[in-house]
């Protein structure tokens, strides 16, 4: 793969990884905001431009949007406790999931519910955390997907551990870890990135720079122009890519995953995107940003962009769109139905998973609670 201009160097026995500084460059992209290939953009391999593959990507984007929209409806109907929307960031979600194979690990944040369903996790299980019915509703080992992480950047070291474990076990598995832009300010981000590079662990750090950490804009989060600039300090490649351009995202991620899988160590990717919705349904974005800004980014919508590209190439038409519409609607209907019923809760379960074997103290507390319930 010669997608990126990685200037190989080897000095003092170090693996050749560092790349040209990215802070003075536009993010890498293939498509311009109107869905046309941009001049001087990246040159993906033919496989990455295969219309069938891209249509699959487009479907996934549409599906992610539909899921996100339905989840947003569900929270408004009180079916979810809270929902952090990924609207506008679907290309990151889709590219990340599509870049991985089954044996690879995904480390999502609270904002990456769409990635969970794209990975195949049933919506009820994926939304368990946000529904408030348990902390994590799927089996992370079955899906090679860690629980969604809320304490910011703390999933970074877990990705290092998973990657290092795979490396030590001799497995060709990769760990792909999501972060927000704000999370890059946390110590855990740094410790994880630095350790991953030292261990040359197969990890991809994917920062969705959606310009905000709740209300705090990027320029209060970093004084650098790009978050990918941090990579050189870790001695790893740092890539700044248009996070609303699925083709570019696919290309960049394919390369990073491949490098990780073949012993080339970690990569830091900054995907430049935008959080179109408020932080969560509980947030009031009008307090800290202008609607004109949101409009600017809506015009750079990842779905429209790829849709226009595919339409121009004859790979997408009204019939296919209708088909996708229907698929999405079916899925959402199913979601609505599933969330219409309240599951039953068993108070006993609170005590069952604290330890492998329940302690005598927990048994006593379970009895207390049972007695209380019986007395009601």
């Amino acid at each position: 793969m010669t997608l990126l201009d990685l200037s190989a160097r080897d000095r003092e026995g170090k693996a050749a990884t560092a790349v040209r500084p990215v802070w003075d460059s536009e993010p890498l992209r293939y498509l311009d905001e109107h869905g046309a290939p941009v001049e001087g953009g990246i040159r993906p391999t033919p496989a990455l431009l295969d219309p069938g593959a891209l249509l699959r990507g487009y479907r996934a984007l549409r599906f992610a949007r539909a899921f996100d929209t339905e989840a947003t409806n569900l929270v408004m109907q009180g079916r979810l406790a809270v929902y952090p929307s990924c609207r506008g960031q679907e290309a990151c979600e889709v590219a990340a999931v599509h870049a991985l194979e089954e044996q690879d690990w995904l480390l999502p944040t609270y904002r990456d519910s769409a990635a969970l369903v794209l990975r195949g996790i049933p919506a009820v299980d994926a939304l368990t955390l946000l529904r408030g019915t348990w902390h994590c509703g799927y089996d992370p080992k079955q899906w090679r997907t860690m629980p969604q992480c809320t304490p910011l950047a703390t999933q970074g070291p877990h990705a290092v551990g998973l990657g290092l474990a795979a490396k030590l076990a001799g497995d060709p598995a990769v760990a792909l870890c999501f972060f927000g832009d704000g999370a890059t300010s946390e110590g855990d981000f740094h410790e994880a990135a630095n350790s991953a590079a030292v261990y040359q662990a197969p990890v991809v750090f994917l920062v969705q720079n959606n310009q905000y950490a709740i209300s705090v804009p990027l320029h209060k989060q970093t004084h650098a122009i790009s978050l990918a600039d941090k990579a050189s300090g870790y001695g790893m490649p740092g890539i700044r890519v248009d996070g609303n351009d699925l083709i570019a995202m696919n290309a960049v991620l394919a390369e990073a995953v491949q490098r990780a899988r073949t012993g080339g160590g970690p990569t830091l990717i900054e995907a430049v995107t935008y959080r179109v919705q408020a932080h969560t349904n509980a947030d009031d974005a009008a307090r800290y940003r202008q609607s004109a800004e949101v409009e600017y980014w809506r015009r750079r919508d990842p779905i429209d962009r790829l849709g226009r590209y595919l339409t121009a190439r004859g790979a997408l038409d009204a019939a296919v769109e209708a088909e996708i519409d229907e698929e999405c609607e079916r899925y959402c209907e199913q979601m609505r139905a599933q969330f219409a019923e309240e599951p039953s809760y068993d108070a006993d379960e609170m005590f069952e998973h604290v330890y492998d074997e329940m302690t005598p103290q927990l048994k006593a507390q379970r009895e207390m609670l049972r007695a209380e319930e019986a007395a009601k």
């Binding site: 406790a81 809270v82 609270y110 955390l129 946000l130 529904r131 408030g132 019915t133 348990w134 902390h135 809320t150 304490p151 910011l152 704000g182 999370a183 300010s185 946390e186 110590g187 855990d188 950490a213 709740i214 209300s215 705090v216 209060k220 989060q221 970093t222 509980a282 947030d283 009031d284 307090r287 800290y288 809760y345 108070a347 379960e349 609170m350 005590f351 604290v354 302690t359 103290q361 927990l362 507390q365 609670l369 209380e372």
Partner: protein
Amino acid sequence: MSQGTEQISAPAAPLTMAKAINAALSDAMAEDDKVVVFGEDVGALGGVFRVTDGLAAKFGDERCFDTPLAEASIMGTAIGMAVYGFKPVVEMQFDAFAYPAFEQVFSHLAKMRNRTRGAVPVPVVVRIPYGGGIGGVEHHSDSSESYFAHTPGLHVVTPATVEDSYSLLREAIDSPDPVIFFEPKRLYWSKANVALPARTGRIGTAAVRRQGTHATLVCYGQTVPVCMAAAEQAAKEGIELEVLDLRSLVPLDDEAIESSVGRTGRAIVVHESVGFGGFGAEVAARIAERCFYRLEAPVTRVAGLDIPFPPPKYEHWYLPDADRVLDAVDRAMAAG
């Protein structure tokens, strides 16, 4: 010192606890330009609970500002600023998000005065919204006061009433020592008719919220209204419970506790954080030791369960409520 038996939520109340805390910050900033407020989202947004609403607009963004998302750095920056002569009031957005700042708290904030033989006090106030009952998903409902209370050098304070929330915060800002100020987030929207600026007594003094003779409910923060409700119910059955609101965990008002339990002969310690190794253990152990000959029943604790804080749909089982308190009262009354 005591606030007597002020109603916790007065019916036609104009002031919420969130607003009272906001007023305390605003008044302190107006009085002393060394008071600065910073943390995540405290500026334009006014904090996720709107507690710092309007401060940036009123005092400018050199007095109230957003930080990068880095709690250890927020805490350490506050320490440095305090050394220089400022009085930083920092916000940790939620209880569990103060954990990354623990090393700064334990190794520096709590110890700086002592390390330097008193030469370098660090008057930092750390505001931490804490506790459950708001349907928060994991990491949003922890009660971490026991960790701090076990760490010498810190004052640990938590209001339960609107008036106290104003007053204790002003006292905290006035204090020459670091104060961990726990804000019971479930009570942010509780209301009371309060004339500001109110001062309800120094840090280190407890308040009897309701007088009683049969048993003492020792509580703080979110469990104060729970105990008040329990006491009201018990009163209907002729049991008069005294409700003692600690207000300050460190320093602890041993005298108030001893005087109350010495009279009633029975004590139930009620808090929301995990019971095992929790702050209630300290209170219970002290009572059991100091009031040994006056106790007519074992000191019992009603606390959070010894489990990670559960998901929203389960939290009603976790949270100590009036019924659970009354069960403990029943056991205490049956004894001795």
